[in-house]
Every structure is written in structure tokens, then in C-alpha cells.
């Protein structure tokens, strides 16, 4: 029974994606919708990602500092630890989990409400491919904008760590900056950005899927919104492991 449900959902998801990734009716409208979504999904997430990254970076740096009080450990490890934590995990995965909550629930409830108020039926009746019209601009916007959010998150997180350590942790700015520059592996940025792209597709497509097939009323829209966040988070965590193994294993 559970297996049947699982495969039905997977099949329905991929059938929806086939409809989504078809040529838009009119490119000018697709561009216009994408710009709207860039603002709604991307630009409107800058503040929350910025604030969270700042405090995450500060907390990571302070925790590293308190765990490396042994004089055997060089002080620059704090900067190095903060940098790698932000690049490898926090700015891509944790930020994606936060975006799943913010953007995912918003997408599911927006599309779900359109479904229950027959707005999607109205689109279909006009001969518009509703899946492509509604979902493709969201996926495109997230894929374009989320890498910038990740890069911004890395920078702000490291800056948060820098401020916390120099103001509260008793570390000199030279030590922290030396650590940030020490043994830098550029591929880590690529790894982080590749993860971000996958997570962007997961958040937008899974949430849109949950909203698109809502049946019922406002209660079901709320449930779809919750399911969108839960399934997005689970898939983000699963793909985090898979991509880490694929990209970082030697």
C-alpha cells in the first residue's frame, strides 16, 4: 500500500515535470513571469538569508573558538573552520532548509489556492499549459537567484564569524583573516553551488507539485503547504548526502 502510494506520487511528479519543462506559450510572458518570481522567490529572501547567515557564522566561529582553546591549536583554525563550515554546509544546505520553509510553503499555498479557486482550470480552459505557465518561471528564478544567495550567505557568515571572534572571542583580526585564506580549495565553492542548484529545483518543484494537485478547500491547501516543506526538507537532506558522496569522495 505504502509502496503503491510512493510510486504513484513519484510517477505523478515526473508527469507534472514533463508538462512543466515544455516550451512556454509565449517567451515574452515567460520572461515577465520569471522576473516577477526572481523578486518574489529570490530578492525577497535576501534579508532572511542575510540575517540567518550572519548569526550562523558568528555561532560557528564562537563554538570553534571555545573548542580550540588548547594552545596546541593555532588560532587561525577558527577562521578556517568558519569558512569551510559556511561553504560546505551552512550556506547551501541549511540556507536551503530555511528557504524550503519560506519559499516552499509560499509556492504550495499560492498554487494550491489557485487550484481550489478554479484559477488553474481557467488557465487550462484558455488553452494555456498551466503547469508550465505557473511552475517553470519559479524553478528558473530559483535556479538563477539561489546561487547568488549562497555566495552572499558565505560572505555574510564569514563576516559574522569575524565580528563575533574579534569582538567577543578574543581573537585578532589578522588570525581570523589568515585562517579564512589558509588552504582554500576553490572546488568547495563549486560543490556548494552545485548543491544549491539541486536544492533550488527540489524546493520549487516539490512545493509546486504539492500545491498543483490539491483537492478540497483551504484546509487542504494548508496541509499541502506543510507537506511541501516536510518533503522538500527530507529531499534536501537526502540529496545533501548523495551529492556530497558524489562530489567530494576520492
Amino acid at each position: 500500500m505504502i509502496l503503491k502510494y510512493f510510486f504513484t506520487e513519484i510517477g505523478q511528479y515526473f508527469l507534472l515535470m514533463r508538462k512543466v519543462f515544455s516550451r512556454p506559450e509565449k517567451m515574452s510572458i515567460f520572461y515577465r513571469q520569471t522576473v516577477r518570481e526572481l523578486i518574489a522567490i529570490g530578492f525577497n529572501s535576501v534579508a532572511i538569508i542575510g540575517i540567518i547567515s550572519f548569526f550562523m557564522g558568528a555561532a560557528v566561529a564562537l563554538q570553534t573558538a571555545y573548542n580550540t582553546e588548547n594552545p596546541m591549536y593555532p588560532k587561525y583554525l577558527i577562521g578556517l573552520g568558519t569558512r569551510d563550515s559556511m561553504i560546505l554546509e551552512f550556506s547551501s544546505s541549511v540556507a536551503a532548509l530555511i528557504l524550503a520553509g519560506k519559499v516552499g510553503s509560499s509556492i504550495a499555498s499560492e498554487i494550491g489556492t489557485m487550484r481550489v479557486t478554479e484559477q488553474i482550470d481557467a488557465l487550462e480552459m484558455m488553452g494555456v499549459n498551466s503547469a508550465s505557465y505557473l511552475i517553470l518561471p519559479k524553478i528558473t528564478a530559483a535556479v538563477i537567484f539561489n546561487p547568488f544567495l549562497t555566495l552572499m550567505s558565505i560572505c555574510i557568515g564569514i563576516f559574522g564569524g569575524f565580528l563575533a571572534c574579534t569582538q567577543l572571542g578574543g581573537l585578532t583580526s589578522e588570525d581570523f583573516i589568515y585562517g579564512v585564506q589558509y588552504a582554500f580549495i576553490p572546488f568547495y565553492i563549486t560543490y556548494s553551488l552545485v548543491k544549491t542548484l539541486f536544492f533550488a529545483v527540489i524546493i520549487t518543484s516539490v512545493s509546486a507539485y504539492q500545491g498543483y494537485y490539491v483537492k478540497g478547500g483551504s484546509l487542504e491547501v494548508g496541509r499541502a503547504s506543510t507537506k511541501a516543506v516536510v518533503f522538500s526538507c527530507l529531499l534536501i537532506l537526502l540529496f545533501n548526502v548523495i551529492l556530497t558522496q558524489l562530489l567530494l569522495s576520492k
Binding site: 506559450e25 509565449k26 479557486t117 478554479e118 482550470d121 481557467a122 487550462e124 480552459m125 484558455m126 488553452g127
Partner: protein, 236 residues
Amino acid sequence: MVLTDINVTFQPGITNLIIGQSGSGKTVLLKSIVGLHDIDRGEIWFEDILFNKLDFQGKKSIRKEIGMLFQGSALFDSFTVEQNVRFPLDMFTDMSMEEKTDRVNFCLNRVNILNVNNLYPAELSGGMRKRVAIARAISLNPKYLFCDEPNSGLDPITAILIDDLISEITKEYNITTIINTHDMNSVMEIGEKILFISEGIKCWEGNKDEILNSDSEKLNDFVFANSLAKQLKERK
């Protein structure tokens, strides 16, 4: 099975009504005709085209000739009135912005609403929303107009205004109009051809003059359901 044994032809230039109790299958029938529900058996023809056998692209070409008015209006919440009415024009025509604005204003004038172009659907009354939905439905000059309970949730006077508007537009543009309703005022006002269904089965077919003299027990129960109608029938 929701619908069985329904065989009916709808004519252009007149208002065709599908009537029946709530839950009788009216909306399922209407949505099946326009392809929003897939049917298990049977045939749906639009002139000489077998609609239910068409693929997505084929249905799309027919749907461009269909205007539909949904029960809750189904206006796009994030668009203004003007953007709602302009949407089909943006999607399917190469008209210039000026031409589109002219067409939008013409459609809004035709449904008798003025100076609401920049308002959002949430700022409109129920009757105005229905009018805007009609304006959107006729913006591409449809050959077919489907209306699902166009006057539900409206007061009797506004409901009659909406019915009359649909009837006028039907005649003016020679549209094949099919309306779902359970409102007897609509039936008596604009019912030029009426199909009565009960529990998913076609029970009666006729017009507004014949409906009061029908032998169908189920139809009589429906038509004379309220006490005023019963009194009138008894006096008659």
C-alpha cells in the same frame, strides 16, 4: 459512475441551460464537455470535431474558441481587472498594447463596468467579479460560452442582470452558450433550451414555456420546490 445516458445537442445563438439539484452532476457534465474531466465512455462533438479523442494540442485549439465563466469567477488574484481581461489577448494574439487596451475597454464597457481597470479582484463585489469574468471570457470572441452557476451568491436583481447580460451577448455574437444553474429565476428568464438532469441521468429536455406543464415528476419536484411556486401551481 456520475453521468449516464446523456445525449443532447446545444444550438448557437440561444441560451442552453443545464438544470438540476445540487449534486445532480451539472458541473461534472459541464467540465466533461470542455475536457476538464476525462470521460470513460461516450462522445463529445464540437461541430464536426470529436473533442474527447483529441490530444492536448487539438483540445487547445478548440479551447481558444471557448470562454468559460466559473462559479467563483476564477479571476487571477495577483492581476488587476485590466490584466485579467487582457490575459487571453497577451497569450494568444499579436495585438499591440494599444489594440489590447482598446479591446479590454470594449469588453468591460460591454459588461457595463467602468473605471475598475486598476482594481484587484479582492476589491470588487461578487456581481462585478462575475462581469469581469464575462469580459475575460468574451475577450477573444469565443464561439462557445460555458457558465457554471453564473449567479450563485448574487442577490436576485444582480442575478437577473447577469443572466440578461449573458443572454444578450449570446444573441449579439451568435455564441453557443451553455449555462449550469439551479436557479428557477434564470430558467424562466433566459431558458430557451433546458436540459434537466437528476442523479446524473437526463430526465427532461424542453424550453421555459414547456417546463411548467411537464409530466416529469422529478422535474415538477424541482421546479415547484418552494412554497410560492407550489401556491402558483395550485391556483393554476
